[in-house]
């Protein structure tokens, strides 16, 4: 049975923080309603979801106001099916090694009699359209399939309240569609109240009948999607929220790129010990003054191609050949170059910014590259100051990179690659999880680099990003078995 949710003057401050994560929220959600929760980065959407899920432990912060969920009350152990929660990272949503065991996990925890567990598991797997047997290894599933399985786990207890925190953010378009259709199917009977947090509004609209916008001081807009977007669309767009009907101006050049910089021919790659190729027989050309988008489903080898072009992995077969123009005096393939020489010619930006941080302050992080390629202290200082200003990081110069927000970390990781002024810049999912504001900044920055003659390669499954920036698209279809 669906529940009614009511928040009165709700606020939460994490222990040790001066600022409130969320404050002054008055919100009433009726039984069976489906709510899309929006707001700019840092508005406290995830904190609010955690509060509804009963995951904010009393000793982990300070609470204002009240949260009521009726019938049943707040908390995981609540009566009935309780609450189902699904977050964005498929890797950490699953607990067990076998698909069926994972769905059974929540039922075991709630003390469901053993003889009822397996029929319930089968029903939940069928409800989300899971296509594998119960003993299928969870590690062998794609991201989309893993999220679908995690959804089955969250639904198996027939929760009265389903909380979804960007459930499709990590997925390719096909995987995201898969999960959305599974969500739509299980909500059809209106037995479950839904609260959904999602950056990409357009895709989520089919699932919801109400939009609530969180901002400074609580709920700033509330109502049916059409009304909210008509009235607040512009303001929301300003704040970085993705709003349907507010397209981004494309920055494509439409002209063919400049001279060739880097060429990959007949590239194959197999991880040591793996029995199949992660990438098979791909040709790829990187030109100056051109933005190349590499697209394809999860597992098609896009990230592997980025590492090969970036001179970070040696191809199992095939060659990555720089032109004289790019190599400027160096011989051999890029993967044999010393790191500093590589960084000043080909820059790579990884999907997870934290993988690339090596310093304890933002300014040191930016100074590292220029210093290693032999710039003087004064040149280094001017590069650092320039990048800090261009990427709106000046106020964070002394902060530890690990403490930055997702958008700030992304900007910093791009800035560190730019600090050594490479002719080729390779980025893996640069727009992943970014709000509209950072997204546009990234597109502008990359467009400018491209216009200045840099060869830009972006591995992505963000179709808007491809539309906005890419002059040429390379589609990988998936690894063939051999």
């Amino acid at each position: 049975m669906a529940v009614q949710v009511e928040l009165r003057g709700f606020g939460w401050r994490h222990a040790g923080r001066a600022a409130w994560a969320v404050r002054g929220v008055d919100l009433r959600i009726e039984r069976g309603e489906r709510v899309l929760l929006l707001g700019p980065s840092g508005a406290g959407k995830s904190t609010l979801l955690a509060a509804l899920a009963g995951l904010l432990a009393e000793d982990s912060g300070e609470q204002e106001g009240t949260v009521t969920i009726a019938p049943g009350g707040v908390g995981i152990g609540a009566a009935g099916g309780g609450i189902g929660l699904l977050c964005q990272d498929p890797e950490t949503q699953l607990v067990m090694a076998r698909a069926g065991d994972d769905v059974a996990f929540g039922l075991e925890n709630r003390g469901v009699p053993p003889e009822e567990i397996w029929p319930t598991v089968d029903a939940a797997l069928a409800a989300v359209g899971f296509a594998y047997p119960r003993d299928h290894p969870t590690s062998a599933l794609s991201g989309g399939e893993q999220q679908r399985l995690a959804l089955a786990g969250a639904l198996a207890t027939r929760p009265s309240l389903l909380l979804l925190d960007e459930p499709t953010a990590n997925l390719d378009p096909d995987g995201a569609a898969l999960v959305r259709s599974a969500i739509g199917r299980v909500l059809a009977d209106r037995e479950t109240t839904l609260v959904l947090v999602e950056h990409r509004v357009a895709e989520a609209l089919g699932l919801v009948d109400r939009v609530v916008v969180l901002g400074d001081g609580g709920v700033v807009a509330d109502g049916p999607p059409d009304a909210v977007f008509a009235e607040h669309g512009n303001a929301l767009t300003e704040q970085g929220v993705w709003v349907p009907g507010h397209p981004v101006t494309p920055r494509r050049t439409g002209s063919p790129g400049g001279p060739e910089l880097l060429r990959g021919e007949g590239l194959w790659f197999r991880h040591p010990g793996a029995d199949r190729f992660a990438l098979s027989d791909v040709d790829c050309l990187v030109r100056s003054a051109e933005a190349l988008a590499v697209v394809g489903p999860n597992g098609s080898g896009k990230s592997t191609l980025a590492l090969l072009l970036g001179g970070l992995l040696a191809p199992t077969r095939g060659t990555v050949a720089p032109t004289m123009d790019l190599a400027t005096g160096l011989t051999g393939p890029p993967h044999r170059w010393r790191a500093a020489a590589l960084a000043s010619r080909i820059g790579s930006v990884f999907q997870d910014p934290e993988h690339q941080f090596v310093s304890t302050r933002v300014a040191d992080e930016l100074a590292l590259g220029p210093r290693r390629v032999g710039r003087t202290a004064r040149e280094t200082q001017s590069i650092v100051d320039d990048l800090l200003a261009r990427l709106r990081l000046s106020h964070l110069a002394r902060a530890n990179p690990y403490t930055l927000s997702g958008g700030e970390q992304r900007r910093l990781s791009v800035a560190t690659a730019l600090a050594t002024a490479p002719r080729v810049l390779i980025l893996d999912e640069p727009t992943f999880g970014q709000d509209r504001r950072t997204w546009i900044e990234l597109v502008d920055l990359l467009a400018k680099l491209r216009d200045d003659g840099c060869g830009v390669v972006a591995v992505t499954h963000d179709t808007d990003f491809v539309d906005a920036l890419a002059d040429r698209t390379l589609t990988l279809t998936g690894a063939s078995h051999e």
Partner: protein, 267 residues
């Protein structure tokens, strides 16, 4: 890292399908017997017994040899270091290598130690090669009343271990992309290692926290009485396995005593 198996095909072989706790207990009893004496005869007999039992675990000898290869490396290390560097050089001199006199006493100790290494490792390899981690956690909770918080928590964490290897490789590449490599400078290598380790730990803690949240959200350890979807039974056959391990271990010690080679560890 890829050697950490979190899932395996459950085998129907008579010993492989015994209760995981029974297998573990039998292995422990046998190991204690082997460790109780310092002579080479006991571990040699123990290895013989284990090799006879291999087919009952449904494991091929080739696979066992492959999994035991690192042990061979360890045993070689033990033999070499003892032959050359053992402090006690009793018995008659067999031959000399430069300044090192290799005596019968040294050979006896080296042989005893390396055989013990195998006699302890082989049963452990057989047990873990045939025990699914999920079954082990289930059996620990259901048959020996281990706290689920510990057993299921460890099981969930184990599932993340293979990811650490992939993360570590990615961190190395990410650092190279930043222009960081140590070349031949050992100080720089150490510094890079420390900073990559820090990044690995930060990532592991973040993932662990997210996994813990996911487990909490699904009602884990919420104070409600837990039920089990998978029943682990400790039956007569399992009891028989433990009893057989006790009998065989006792017979092993008795044999070496009768042969006069028994050399107690705690003399």
């Amino acid at each position: 890292m890829s050697s950490v198996a979190t899932l395996m095909r459950r085998s129907d072989a008579p010993l492989a399908r015994r209760n995981p706790v029974a297998k573990l207990a039998a292995g422990l009893v046998f190991t204690f017997a082997v460790l109780a004496t310092l002579d080479p005869v006991t571990p040699a007999l123990a290895i013989g017994i284990v090799l006879v039992l291999v087919p009952l675990f449904g494991v091929g000898y080739g696979e066992l040899a492959r999994r035991a290869a690192p042990v061979l490396l360890g045993a070689t290390g033990v033999i070499v270091s003892l032959l050359f560097f053992a402090a006690e050089r009793t018995g008659t001199v067999l031959f000399t290598v430069g300044p090192f006199a290799v005596t019968t006493g040294v050979v006896y100790t080296a042989l005893g130690l390396s055989l013990r290494l195998f006699a302890v490792a082989l049963p452990a390899i057989l047990i873990f090669a045939t025990t699914d981690p999920t079954d082990l956690a289930d059996a620990l909770i259901q048959n020996v009343k281990a706290p689920p918080r510990f057993a299921i928590g460890a099981l969930a964490a184990l599932r993340l271990v293979p990811l650490l290897g992939a993360q570590w490789r990615l961190l190395g590449l990410a650092r190279r992309a930043r222009g960081v490599d140590a070349g031949a400078n050992p100080v720089a290598a150490l510094r890079n290692f420390a900073s990559a380790t820090f990044a690995l730990l930060v990532g592991a803690i973040r993932r662990g926290t997210r996994l813990a949240t996911a487990m909490d959200a699904r009602g884990f350890d919420s104070g409600l009485p837990r039920t089990w979807a998978r029943r682990q039974r400790f039956g007569l056959a399992d009891l028989a396995l433990v009893a057989a391990a006790v009998v065989v271990s006792a017979a092993l010690i008795a044999t070496t005593v009768a042969l006069g080679t028994f050399d107690p560890l705690l003399a």
